[in-house]
Subunit: 284 residues, 2 copies
Amino acid sequence: MAQILKGAPVAAALCEKMTAQTAELAGRGVTPTLAILRVGERDDDLSYERGAMKRCAQVGVAVKNVVLPANVDPEAFYAALRDLNEDPKVHGILMFRPLPAQLDGEKARRMLAPEKDVDGCTDGSLAGVFTGARLGFAPCTAQAAMEILHYYGIDPAGKRAAVIGRSLVVGRPVAMMLMRENATVTICHTRTPDVPAVTREADIVVAASGQMESVGADYLREGQTVIDVGIGWNEAKQKLCGDVRFEEAEPLAAAVTPVPGGVGSVTTCVLVSHVIEAARRSLS
Amino acid sequence: MAQILKGAPVAAALCEKMTAQTAELAGRGVTPTLAILRVGERDDDLSYERGAMKRCAQVGVAVKNVVLPANVDPEAFYAALRDLNEDPKVHGILMFRPLPAQLDGEKARRMLAPEKDVDGCTDGSLAGVFTGARLGFAPCTAQAAMEILHYYGIDPAGKRAAVIGRSLVVGRPVAMMLMRENATVTICHTRTPDVPAVTREADIVVAASGQMESVGADYLREGQTVIDVGIGWNEAKQKLCGDVRFEEAEPLAAAVTPVPGGVGSVTTCVLVSHVIEAARRSLS
């Protein structure tokens, strides 16, 4: 029977820390501020925005909402982004993507100031993740996985870790973050002939392929820590599921994150913590 | 008895390709030009510079040498770097490091234009290696290791690769490049408890820890490809040695690079190929 690595206490601990940090910043006359740049009204964006705004309010981070119509003129969009880049009162920018077809998402990503890139999507942020330098911010979901390990006292140092998935939002960054904490990391992907053989060798398994319920008992062995980054709606089961078949992992693993209520419930906290960190960096 | 993966034919093939490319660029009125920015007269720098200049001459790449005294005034140094960044006739810049104490090496690295960073040391280049985007250039030694695999028809796809060493000049970049070519890569480092256990699992072993002759028969098994990135002077043996104990690897491996005459002999070719690529990119 595995320990269930719930996200809620991790998020609560992060929020407590953040509340103290914003109080300290308030004493120095600074209100950390997140700008949310949204084009149109996509359900996913709205849902994530609500979660982020709630967390911001909870810990004392201000939000500046910039909402543009789905058919926004490209020049107006780039001007809005430039204004946020240049506004000294804005410390972090969350720019929802993908953008509508008339906008150049790659251009927008390159425009975004790395020091305000609290979502970790710019080349500056990705270079920082790769090199270990304090440059931009790590992608939030990847860092959320690491925050869960930290909170539950699971030290990657000296352990073998297997990451399933090589995306730039989770797989590659989480591999670099595990390596920086001295894990010996193997990255598996769609072209890995025998993923279960690799993951069974590992002490820590991070499932981030985005393939729902693809990781079963054959991928696992006793004593492992299993971090499930996936989340999707399972039509057949009529519920949210991760990349891991939880009912197979739970009797086998030493510790496993649930879905929902695991990594996903820490992600917006990480985003907000980046806004506070950006505000702190702007003072130094 | 392993196949000996010599660097010389790899370099020759690259030079042949480069000579054709510079001829084509000449037809478009462009002479690819490498600026070499050197401060002082360190033996290592001079030796690498000679090799690079020889390769440039061989394939039709011009060289602009900028040599500053070891006690150069910082402002004069940064101005020289800025001039090279801005000079449209200069396509690539090789800036020798480390720089003397009065200069800020990190500031200089950040100043260097990524599109001219043919040595692959800027954050732009490293972000490109991490993300797979065409941004800057890969570190030359890491790419030299890949060029050897390509030349000898050793396809990393579907294979397991172990990289020993997590440096930003070789270990991490070569891991990303192997992964981009669909190897399943494990990065070992000083905090990996049992490196031999990891490397014995691999089909391709890249030794890049910088620990001379540290990789012996116990790290290897039959049938592997062994790429030795290390090079150093062995006082006891009075000869150049790599990270691999060649006499132990050679009877066991399917293929192994020699030292000297392996990866190191391809590195300057890669540097020069980046100058040509930078010139080609500047036209598009």
